[in-house]
Amino acid sequence: MIYRISVPAVADVEEIRVLEWHGEPGHRFDSGDLVVELETHKAIVEVRAGQPAVLRQVLSEAGKWQQIGLPLALLSDDAGEPLPEEVDSAADLMVDFEIT
């Protein structure tokens, strides 16, 4: 199954800047692994995988800006699954996020 990570809804934030991806496409994240750090105007948001998944495509690289709710990356259960044309068809990956 194909998943996407979108920018989590953080209070008082409209857009974020991607700080750092903690894996390249092909990397398998386990539950609890730190996937990406996002910068808001006042803090850093750590986005951790809530389920195991393979990172397949980074849509917003480090240094790029993205709005709340919009997609950052595509992931999948298995490394070989074909990626869809439409990002919208992907399900939301379960994630935990922590603001530091």
Binding site: V13, E14, E15, R17, E39
Partner: protein, 346 residues
Amino acid sequence: MSGKPAVTTEKIFFREAISRAMREEMRQNERIFIMGQDVGAFGGSYREFDGLFVEFGAARVRDMPVAEAAMVGVGVGAAAAGYRPLVSVTYMDFMMLGFDPLINYGAKLRYKTGGRLTAPVVVKTTAGAKGQGVAHSQCIEAWLMGVPGLKIVAPSTPADAYGLLKAALHEDGPVVFIDHKRLFPVAGQVPLSEGMVPIGQAHVCRTGTDVTITAHSFMTRVAMEAAKLLEADGISAEVVDLRTLAPLDMRTIADSVGRTGALLTLEEGQVTCGVGLEVIGRVHELLGPIPSARTGALPAPVSSNKVLEAACLPDAQRVLEAVQMLLGKRSRRSGRKIASFVPDGQ
């Protein structure tokens, strides 16, 4: 237009525009230093001084006890003695404690010494309401506009924060630099190369033909929002971002009002003796009695209560209604009082 090099810009947070300006200026001039609460390792209440303590050390990024009167005085004194301090007053409400050294000494120093001394100090402060309550929400820039010798700037974008802060740090006398709580979530394009914004220069950020809306700081964003609503209503609004409150750029303002023929002033502070009243007074002196109106906070303290704070402050809808009233297009059917336009008790 040929011959003008493309300015490269980068999108950064509002706070980063401030820290970038500080970093560049502090690298160029070792006499610039920062004083304030939580400016050191903490990096400033809004992280607007992030990284500066690590780069420049405790001698140039100084944490202070809570003592604004002495803090401003020490800054003014150090400036008079040859340094260029930036005094960070966390919330504009607290500036009142520092009025004596800033106004009675700093702003008057050049005059009272017959030019022998001057105080190149920047007092940076954060104005505006964002749920913090009656004594942590004020916009009192209007109180300072009439002080001879004191310059006041108020950016509404990260680029202008960067440019005006750099300019302020090059001035020979005291400058009050006012940012806003609700501007810190804003990101925007900021020049990568030197992008000083001249003090005393307003900016037409949206051209229009039916009315001029003057605003500053966060309210410039509200004015821009209102201009979109007005456009849908068939009214073409020109928005002038004041950027500098003292000295006011009357050339840009008067030129705009001369073209549109109507003026609505917008501020978050009180309209009584406010920024808008000064703008209107000067426009009338220059152009005659052009139809004008003021919009600002209701005449009440700004509570931390979400409902009451929102009721007190101007928003795009209230600006829309004020312009409609000004231009005589207001529908009277709803009968709703435009509180910001004709407040009770005034």
